[in-house]
Structures are given as C-alpha cells and as structure tokens.
C-alpha cells in the first residue's frame, strides 16, 4: 500500500509579519519556519495507517526552496519512509491550482492508495490544494476529516461540518483525504527515528519538470486590515453596568439569543 502525504512549510504564526517589497506576499525576514499544523495531522494519520497496515510505504512531498528540507526531515523523523522535494524558491508565487497540478503530476501513475493533505495552510489558507489534486487525478476526496479508519480498501471517515455537526463518509481507495484539527495528536519524533531520517531517501525534482498548469489568478495586493476602533470601557454602578453589558451582548452578538 503506497501512501502520499503532502506537506507545506509555513512561518510560525507568532511572528510579526511584514509585507514584502512587491507588496503581494509577506516578507521572509525574521520568520521562524515549521510544518503547517494541518499537514502534521496528515503525516500522523499516514503513519498510524502504516502501523495498522504493516506493508505500507509513505512518501512525503513538499514544494519549496532549500530550507523546506528541514520540514521534510521532521516528517521523515516522525515515520515517513521517503521524501520528494519539489525544488522551487518562489513557491509563494504559485496559486493553489498550480501547487495541486505539481502534486498531481508527480502522483499520477504512482499507485498511491491514499493521499493525505492538510485541509488548508496556515499562511495562505485557500483550502483548495487537496481537493484540486483529487480533481486532477479524478479521485474521490473527503475534506476536513476529524476521524479516520481504514479496512480492506475502504476508508470510513468523519467530516466536521458547520455548527459542530459531523458527517460519516465511506470512500473506496484510492482517495484524497484533507485533515482537520482534532484528527489526531501528532507524535514527537524519537531520537533513533531522527537519526534514521538522515539516511532515508530524499529525492529532489525541479518544480519545472512537474509544473504544467498556467496561472489563472493574480495576487494584486497584500495588506493588513485597517484598524477599527478599539474596545469600549464602561464606567458606572455595577447594576447599571451589568444591564448595559447585557444590552450590548443582545445587540451585537448572538450569545444570548
């Protein structure tokens, strides 16, 4: 059983973001980089599936410059078997359709029974890549998965829907799964696995070989939202204050409805 996990390296969200010189993306200076949170769930789920289906083989794929190798190594240390680094420095210039195109181009005819991706990336957050990969490969896709079980070619998953409801979906493999928070708790790599990861196969493919999709979108401008008015400080008697708070909550929120 072959499994593909697609991961992305993103900046840590605690950083102070600045707009880059072109004004179309964030500047890369002074950022700390890590694996996209949702992709960690994808990696973890793939490894758990391998632990269940002993003969499975997990390939992890990441698109980006030289520095994404650090994130790839983490996935290998967690338990992926081999890695593909699609090399491209200016990866942020690609739109989701192109990213999906690259992945699909790589995955086509490789016989992956399952493709796991995060449900979205923490930086761009388009939530499209996994589903577009499925579309390119004409595979079924289930998004925002929070529970996953697999038995004999059939995946039984639960999806998270609006308002906390869930849907149970059964899908025959091959299929694409996009992973949501709550699916699992990603493991901490053990030291022997970190050591082993250094020796695992890491194949680099220039993005040009796989990028066959022309762009259809253009990011015109990236900007911080305008600052709206700050908080309102209420002063007065406690009873009166409470009444005013209730009034505000009724007018401006739905918590009391």
């Amino acid at each position: 059983m072959k499994i593909l996990v697609c991961i992305k390296q993103v900046p840590d969200m605690e950083a102070k973001f600045k707009i880059d010189g072109a004004g179309t993306w964030y500047a890369r200076t002074d950022l700390a980089w890590r694996m996209n949170e949702y992709d960690e769930y994808a990696v973890e789920q793939a490894i758990q599936l391998k632990e269940q289906e002993q003969e499975a083989d997990i390939t992890v794929l990441c698109i980006g410059g030289e520095q994404v190798k650090e994130t790839i190594k983490k996935a290998l240390a967690m338990g992926c078997d081999r890695a593909v680094h699609v090399a491209m420095e200016a990866v942020s210039s690609l739109e989701p359709l192109q990213i999906a195109g690259i992945i699909a181009e790589f995955a086509r005819d490789q016989g992956f029974a399952l493709i796991f991706t995060g449900m979205q990336s923490q930086d761009r957050g388009s939530g499209q890549v996994g589903l577009l990969v499925a579309e390119f490969l004409t595979l079924p896709a289930v998004s925002t998965v929070v529970e996953f079980a697999y038995e004999a070619g059939m995946a039984t998953v639960r999806r998270e829907l609006e308002g906390g409801t869930r849907a149970c979906v059964k899908v025959a493999t091959p299929a694409v799964i996009t992973c949501q928070l709550g699916l699992n708790s990603p493991r901490y790599p053990t030291l022997p696995n970190i050591m082993k990861a250094k020796k695992k196969e890491l194949r680099t493919i220039p993005a040009g070989e796989l990028l066959k999709v022309a762009p259809r979108q253009e990011t015109a401008k990236l900007f911080f939202p305008e600052k709206r008015g700050g908080g309102e400080v209420l002063e007065g008697e406690i009873g009166e204050l409470a009444d005013r708070v209730i009034q505000i909550l009724k007018e401006k929120t739905t918590v009391l409805s």
């Binding site: 840590d12 605690e14 700390a32 708790s185 030291l191």
Partner: protein, 676 residues
C-alpha cells in the same frame, strides 16, 4: 597486683577452644567475602564509570564520612544516635582487635602481653563505656522506630532481626564480662574500671561459682556464634551498609555539582538513549541502591512527596535496587512509574541531605531521557507543545524569536551584532526576554549595570533558550541543539564575561556548556551585583524594609551561593526574616526540572506550600533571584490567597529602587574590555 586479665579464662586455650573458634571465624569471613562478591555481580550489570580518580581526595571524603559520620549527624537528631552508636562500635571493634592481637599473636609468639597496667585500666573502662553507649543508643533507636516512628518510616522483619542481633551481641558481651568478674575480680581494685561489668557481676552473684562458670562458658560460645552470624549477615541484610554506604562517599561525584553527563549525539551506531533497563545504568547507579539505608531523609525533604505527588526519591532508589537484584530485565520507567519520574523538580534536596551520597537526580533524568528520546513521551501535551515551540522559536513560550531583544531596545541595550564593544554579555534567558513580569527584572538589572558604569550587551535574536528545562525533562537532543546555537553565537564575539539573571541559565552555561565548547566566564547577577557593590562601583541609598528570601534551588543547592544575595538585601536596607527552610534546606518553588513547562496535575501546589512558609515569616516581601521562582510565586499568591499580603520580587528590582542618583554616579565605562 597486676592489672590485667586472662584472655581465654574459663574457656581454656586448648585446641578444643581454638580450633572451632578459628574455623568459625574463618567460615564467617569466607561467607562474608562470598556474599560481597555476589553483590559485586549485581553492580557489574552496570556500565563502566571512573570513580577512582583523585583517590587522595576521595579517601579524605570517605574517612570524613565514615569516622566523623559527617553526613549522618546532619541533622543531629536522629543522626547523633547513629553517630554515637557507630563510635561506640568502633571502640569495641578496636578493643576486640587488640585482644586478638595479644591472645593469638604477640602472647603465643613473643610472650608479649600489652593489655596490662594503666593501659589495661583505660582499655577496660573505655570498652565498658563504649558498650553501654551502644546499648543506650540502640535502645533509643529502637524506641524511635517501633514506638514513635516518624511518618512514613517502614519497618521490615529485617530491621527486627538486625536490632535483635546487635542487642544480643552487646548484652551477651556484658554477661560474659559480668560472670568473669563475679568470679575473679569482685573486691579487687580493678573492678571499678569496668562499671557496667561490675554491675552485671553483682546481679549474677546469686548463681554461685559453679553456675557462673557454666554461664560464662555457654555465653562465650553464644557470643562468638552471634558475631559469626553478624558477619555472614552483612552482605545479606542492610548490615551491608557498613561497607556500601561508607564506600559510596569514596565513589562520590566530585563535581561540578549536579552536572549531567552529556550524551553523545553524533554516535550514529547508538541504539538507545537514556536508561530504561538496569544494564543501561552505570555500576555506581546500582551501587547507590545498595548504599541506601531507607533513612527517608530524602523523602522528608522532597517537594513532590510533600505535596502528595507519586514521587519519593527513596522509593525510586529502592525500586531500582529491587530491579537490579531480582528483575534486571524490567522496564525501569514502568517500575518506578512515569508519574513519579515526571514529578521531580531536580531541586537536589534529596542529594544534599543523603547520608549515603546517592545521586538521585541523574537517575531520574536518565529515565526521562529514555521516555523522551526513545518513546517521544512527555508529562503532558503542554510540555510537548513547549518543546515544539522551542524548536521553532528558541523559547518555550512560543514567542517570535525575532522579538527576543525587543525589551532592551528602549533601554538602549544593543545586540552584540550591532555593538560588540561591551563589558559584559547579559544572557537574558527566555522569561526575562518575553514574560512581562520578568522583563521588569531585566530592566532593573540593566539600570544597575548602567549606574555602576557597566556596559551590557545582549545576543538579542541570536539568543536561544539555554535548554535547561528541556534537558532536565530528558530532551537531551533539543538541549544540545540549543546549546550549540548559543555557543556558536557567543563565540562569534569577543565575549569574556557572561552575566545571567536566571540561575537555570547560569548553571547550564557555567557547567553544562563546558562540555560543548563555551569558554567565557559565567556569573549570576546576584554575585555580579555583590561584586559591584563591594568594589564601590554600585552605590545604594539604603532604605529600610523587611523581607524574607527564597534560595532558588539552582543558585543555592546546585551552586552553594547563599550569602551574596543576603548581603545585597542587607545593603539595600533589608531586614531578613528567614523561613524555617532556608539555604541548603530551602523548599523548591516547583518549577525546576522542566516543571515550569508542565501543569501541576497531582497533589497540592508546591508553590503554595512555599508561599505559606514565606507568609508565616510575617514579612510582606518575598525576594528571590530566579525568573521561574518569581513566576511561580506571582501566580501562586493568587491561588494561595496571599495577594496583597506577600509581594514576590527579584533582588535586582529592590536594588534598582535604591540606586543613588547623585552627581557622583560612576560614568558609563565604554573602554574596559569586560573583566573587572
């Protein structure tokens, strides 16, 4: 008359006496040696470790621990009971040896009798009183153990056997003496030189000469038999502490105090890290378990145990010992219990008091290493998140690494990358860099430096967490990664002197980083400030206040720095009201050993217990020297309902408030190269 006695009186010096006696003695010693060799096999399961270097120094430690009972008599109660018993027993041993030398060597070979005259009188009186001392001490110890046992003291049948045997040996000794004196010495001028023997003789007088002779002979052989049993039991009961506990002082870790062994991370052949099985410990770790006498002094001082957590340092040592003896294949973290392992704050209270020189903390960290490095386990998700945050941003708080020096910008303190011409490198640490409460401490420290004409520089965004909490939690890999980055950053600049305001950073840089290539001198801020004060560079306008002072574990027990912080407090006009547990006996705040990263889920809060001790002094201020302590106390005063009654602060903050702002403030010194 000649003051002496016939050694084989009544039992006779024929081969009928000597042969069985020599055979029994030889058998006893043979069984003793055989038994100790069997114990050696247990220790040999462990990995090699050199603990015989600097042997003269070690020998001194050994003799001080053994003959002076240096560690045992601290605390005096009940330590002195053991001390006096030991000293009495040593005198009896010397006395018996002298008898053997005379009766079996010098007299038959050279006709030399030295137990005579005044020497014999002193000999007789000394042994008599030594025996009495032993009996009394043993009696008090027995009453303590069986009638007024301290909480938690466990007594096994083995204890009963040991008491019975020692009592029997001492009492039978006096019976032999009494019976002999009743027949030969009563009424002579020699009798008062054995007061206890004299009393026994008078008590036995009713038996008449025939009865006394029979009693003497039977008791003589019985006494001999008891001693033989005693010798053979040494390796087979806790009597072995005679050898193991005393020699463990010889094998002590000669320091630096509490420094952990750095794991070799480059060895790609290594298949396991940390300790999960007995054969992954060193022989000394196993020997430690045999040196333990279950005195429970460690348990009585353990902050985790005191707050109802499932950790007792004594139990850990016992469990490891049992595994080493009977179940060497056991998974040690499971044997000891994960909750117990995670509960340790590495405060060192156990090691500091242990009369057997046992190294508890390194064993616990060794097992944590196995859990973290081999299993990827942590005490909770919050700890794993802190580890991951540190991997990404170099601090467990998860703050953006690039903002690490932001606090200093307004003060004009620059990173070395911008200006490396400084007097000291201030290694700020994570809490003073990112935590609002502790940033105030960093500001105070910078103000004090400025006032003393010291120009500090920082690493800013080049600084990472020192790695101490990660290392103590068992994450040696992350620790060494962070340490490597810090050392590389420091070595990029001509740094001669590093000052820390966190004792965890201090301990780590000053001791642990030495293995990884840090050369610069490292000083904790309290020592540095005390130095500035003593040299007159730092001038304070003292203003009276009353406070209590909390010795952080890593400045105190781990580095023995107790007085300089107190000098600073006094210089600021402070009147110190000490807590009952201070200096080496100080009670941890609960944040050491990486616990700062973990939620305290079991038992009551360690910080609350310490805050109650501080509140009991009646002083309104609680001064400390550690950002972890300060954080625990600031959070703790709310939970312990002491807000408004107790104000936790760092010493530097109090000093900064009392800076003398006069015309004679020392000018900023930008020329000196660092060292004062």
């Amino acid at each position: 008359m000649e003051f002496t006695r016939e050694i084989y009186w009544n039992v006779g010096r024929s081969w009928w006496t000597l042969l069985p006696m020599y055979l029994l003695a030889a058998a006893a010693i043979g069984l003793l040696i055989y038994g100790m060799r069997q114990r050696l096999k247990i220790y040999r399961q462990g990995l090699p470790l050199v603990r015989t270097d600097q042997w003269r120094w070690r020998l001194g430690n050994f003799l001080a621990a053994l003959l002076l009972q240096k560690k045992v008599v601290r605390p005096a109660w009940p330590g002195l009971l053991h001390g006096f018993f030991f000293w009495g027993f040593v005198l009896l041993f010397i006395g018996t040896t002298l008898i053997v030398i005379q009766a079996d060597f010098t007299e038959p070979l050279f006709d030399l009798i030295f137990l005579r005259g005044t020497f014999y009188k002193i000999f007789s009186l000394t042994l008599d009183l030594a025996g009495l001392l032993c009996l009394v001490m043993l009696g008090v110890l027995l009453v303590r153990r069986y009638f007024f046992p301290p909480a938690g003291l466990q007594s096994t049948p083995e204890h009963g056997l040991m008491f019975a045997l020692l009592f029997a040996i001492l009492v039978s000794g006096f019976v032999i003496e009494g019976a002999r004196m009743a027949v030969t010495e009563l009424g002579t001028p020699l009798a008062p030189w054995s007061p206890v023997g004299l009393l026994t003789a008078r008590l036995l007088l009713w038996m008449g000469e025939g009865g006394l002779l029979a009693l003497h002979k039977v008791t003589w052989w019985f006494h001999l038999l008891l001693v033989v049993v005693f010798l053979t039991l040494i390796p087979r009961t806790r009597f072995r502490h005679l050898f193991t506990t005393s020699s463990n002082a010889f094998f002590a870790d000669l320091g630096p105090k509490g420094k952990l062994v750095s794991l070799d991370m480059d060895n790609e052949e290594a298949e396991s890290y940390g300790t999960s099985r007995i054969d992954q410990m060193t022989w000394k770790d196993i020997f430690d378990t045999d040196a333990c006498t279950l005195c429970q002094r460690c348990q009585d001082r353990c902050p985790a145990f005191a707050t109802g957590k499932p950790l007792s340092p004594m139990q850990v040592i016992s469990q490891l010992g049992e595994a080493a003896v009977s179940r060497p294949g056991d998974d040690l973290p499971a044997t000891v219990g994960r909750e117990a392992l995670w509960a340790c704050t590495t405060c060192r209270a156990c090691e500091e008091i242990c009369p057997a020189t046992i190294e508890h903390v390194a064993k616990i960290v060794g097992m944590r290493r196995s859990l973290v490095l081999m299993e990827g386990e942590f005490p909770g998700d919050e700890v794993m998140a802190a580890m991951e945050a540190t991997e990404v941003n170099g601090n467990p708080l998860g703050s953006a690494f690039a903002g690490r020096g932001d606090w200093a910008a307004a003060l004009g303190v620059k990173p070395l990358a911008e200006d490396a011409d400084v007097d000291i490198l201030y290694f700020v640490g994570c809490y003073a860099s990112f935590d609002q409460r502790n940033i105030a401490v960093a500001r105070s420290f910078v103000e004090l430096c400025r006032a003393a004409g010291i120009k500090p520089g920082i690493l800013g965004k080049e600084e990472r967490c020192c790695g101490e909490p990660m290392r103590k939690m068992g994450n040696e890999y992350l620790y060494q990664t962070l340490a490597g980055e810090n050392i590389a950053a420091i070595n990029r600049y001509p740094v001669k002197r590093i000052v820390t305001s966190c004792p965890h950073c201090y301990n780590t840089l000053a001791k642990d980083y030495r293995d990884l290539g840090l050369i610069a001198e490292v000083v904790p801020h309290t020592l540095f400030l005390a130095e500035l004060l003593a040299s007159g560079r730092l001038r304070l306008a003292a203003a009276d206040f009353t406070c209590t002072y909390h010795d952080s574990c890593y400045l105190g027990r781990h580095n023995d720095i107790y007085e300089p912080p107190r000098q600073l407090i006094r210089a600021a006009g402070g009147t110190l009201v000490e807590m009952a547990k201070n200096r080496a006996d100080a009670f941890c705040c609960g944040a050491g050993g990486g616990r700062i990263l973990a939620e305290e889920k079991s038992g009551t809060r360690i910080s609350h217990q310490r805050l109650e001790m501080a509140a009991a002094t009646g002083a309104g201020e609680l001064l400390s020297n550690c950002p972890f302590c300060l954080t625990m106390f600031v959070d703790g005063v709310k939970g312990a309902d002491l807000e408004g009654h107790l104000r936790p602060r760092d010493i530097a903050e109090v000093l900064a408030e009392r800076l003398e702002h006069g015309s004679d403030v020392a000018p900023m010194d930008t020329t000196s190269g660092g060292k004062q």
